[in-house]
Point group: C2
Chain length 395, copies 2
């Protein structure tokens, strides 16, 4: 019995391959510091759970396909506070940012159509593109440049008759990079010249440590060609809610978007009630969270830069660092850390960066670290990494 | 800016086109009986809400991609009670039955591949097939036969080198038809001969009014080529939970399925906690619900058959009846009922059946009725329908 090529050809996640090794290590009594996954450790605001517990309907019915009107209003107001003008009618609630991406790919691309995306890229983009039979065309960026964008020509020379959009994660997963206004204007300009959409994945909007975040929706020249991907997952440490949204200013785009959304009927009703209640979260919450992550970032960067042979620039946002290690094969090293190494009864789990690259061979000596651990644990994890690297290279 | 053909070519739901008319009628003070939508009116078991309120984690984190282990166990045990052997590891929790269908299409088909499906069919199949760029090939069934399956040759002559699966809704939406064991064996036999999968959408399993439901998973000859689509939506009147599952016995299929699921990370964690708590629902719940719907079915069928010119057979399951009306264009009639007719300050909303057909022109004089109203309301709605038909045909 035949399965589809689009699924068979999906890469298996390198993190997933490491999981059994991590499980083995834990079974052997070794503590594993997880630097590999972007699951925030901060508590979800209590409002979310209050919202859920306050749900009083007797029949748990479908919500409207584009989402509960009240939640779309809440998103609209949140955006207004961010300087982004989006009416509730321009917003469709989705099952997390993931579904917003899935909808974007399906809306813009027929099978075989292409989307440009700076590389390294968020690994789920690859899986979602396979599901939609869309081709992601990587535009290389480099650790030496802090993964900032290359010259305009690096994009334009990759545009073909099948190119439909430029996809960017900003602030970036897995890089933590926040694009400058100038970089954004360049992309907006390209999109206009070649009549492309910009799929702007801004789920890390609240995690910008130097300066303010600017949305692609705030660029007057780009606004009408932006699909804005968003989610409450990171913003409110509510990954498990699976509530996000996708927004577009163009009413034709919105209409077609609702047709896609209709195919899956609706997003979980109670989760939306929780997300509505999050509107009460005071602005200080974000300031505190941001301050906490900023400290962690500084600890992580300082820790990494103090390890001989490790290279990274200080990322401006999100909670990731993509670093080059003094090893030939970071996946092998990550496996070795779990299988063959521990220090004081503990080891670390890293995300090998090869999973964030499309171009074969790129990222082999890089890893992604998520600084979602308490400062003290983060320091300990980095010390173990340092020791591990030394031991690995002295085998 | 170009949007994809797969989305632009998606049919707009005929129910959706009627919604503004229903809204207008309501604004004018007319009560609208909704016979058009399969949203059960029965209360969701209290256990679900208890499960949700009992969620105690401080951080609402991603659940494992295939679903919470406990929920997969609950599904496994439920299936055991139904005579279906499925290990928790053979089950992937999904965002409702919709996502289980989406995963099935993507797993089995590359763009342009084909799936055979008895027509009339559940309208979302068409939308989901468009999203996945899969071609649904309809096999006609007829109201005169109670939408039971035609001769084997009607299937086999439509099988091409691109056919990957046979998709059936059993009990059927929009028909209410429950296939006989013999019909099921024929499909199983076809699947074996042509090396096809069977996508068995059995979300209405608990709604079989004459005899017991048999699952495709219970046919030894079919079992290993079945993708079982399921959902708690109808079973527990919990459509808004968006919790379903997709199961396959073949471990290779299961592995690839998990890769697709990985692309959207996970299903809402709290909803899964609610679904787990539903395991406590006593078996009598289903008996009561079934008895209630059986009564309603009998009321609806008797009411319809008493209207001159209306034709339907008594469906064996689900909560739908597809009936032929004495009108040339049921969509026009449905619009007229909302726009130009009322009786005693009330009217009815019907689902025109053309949306359930792929073959152009088929189903034009048919409508789907969902008997999800209280008996008294149902009787009233049918009386209005009778009056409306008379008035319409005497214009």
């Amino acid at each position: 019995m035949k399965l589809s090529q689009r699924v068979l050809s999906m890469p298996e996640s390198s993190i997933r391959k490491l999981t059994p090794l991590a499980d083995e290590a834990k079974k052997a009594g070794i503590k594993v510091y997880h630097l590999n996954i972007g699951q925030p450790d901060l508590p979800t605001p209590e409002g979310f759970f209050k919202g859920i517990r306050g749900f009083q309907e007797k029949v748990l019915s479908y919500s409207p396909t584009p989402g509960l009107p009240k939640l779309r209003e809440v998103f609209s107001q949140y955006y207004r506070g961010q300087g982004i003008e989006l009416d509730p009618d321009e917003i469709v609630v989705t099952n997390g940012g993931s579904e917003a991406l899935h909808f974007s790919f399906t809306l813009l691309c027929d099978p075989g159509d292409e989307i440009l995306v700076p590389e390294p890229l968020y690994a789920s983009y690859l899986l979602l593109a396979s599901v939609a039979s869309v081709k992601l065309c990587p535009v290389p960026t480099r650790v030496e440049d802090g993964f900032h964008l290359p010259a305009r020509e690096e994009f334009s020379r990759r545009i073909t008759s099948r190119t439909r959009a430029i996809l960017v994660s900003n602030p970036g997963n897995p890089t933590g990079t926040v694009y400058t206004r100038e970089e954004m204007e360049t992309l907006a300009d390209l999109a206009e010249e070649y009549d492309l959409f910009i799929i702007a994945d801004e789920v890390y909007r609240e995690f910008v440590y130097d300066g303010e975040h600017c949305s692609f929706m705030q660029l007057p020249s780009a606004r009408d060609r932006v699909l804005l991907v968003d989610s409450i997952s990171k913003r409110f440490s509510a990954c498990g809610a699976r509530v996000g949204c996708l927004s577009a200013k163009d009413p034709v785009v919105g209409k077609e978007l609702r047709k896609i959304a209709q195919s899956r009927l609706s997003v979980a009703t109670v989760e939306q009630a929780g997300a509505i209640a999050l509107a009460e979260t005071p602005r200080e919450y974000f300031q505190e969270v941001k301050a906490e992550y900023r400290r962690r970032r500084d600890v992580a960067v300082a820790g990494l830069q103090s390890i001989p042979g490790v290279f990274c620039r200080r990322p401006e946002g999100a909670f990731y660092i993509l670093a080059r290690l003094p090893v030939a094969d970071a996946e092998e090293f990550a496996a070795w850390l779990l299988r063959d190494f521990s220090s004081g009864g503990a080891t670390v789990m890293l995300a090998p960066a090869n999973g964030f690259y499309v171009t074969p061979g790129r990222g082999k000596d890089e890893v992604r670290l998520a600084y979602v651990l308490k400062e003290e644990d983060l320091r300990r994890a980095l010390a173990i990494l340092k020791e591990g690297l030394e031991a690995y290279n002295n085998r």
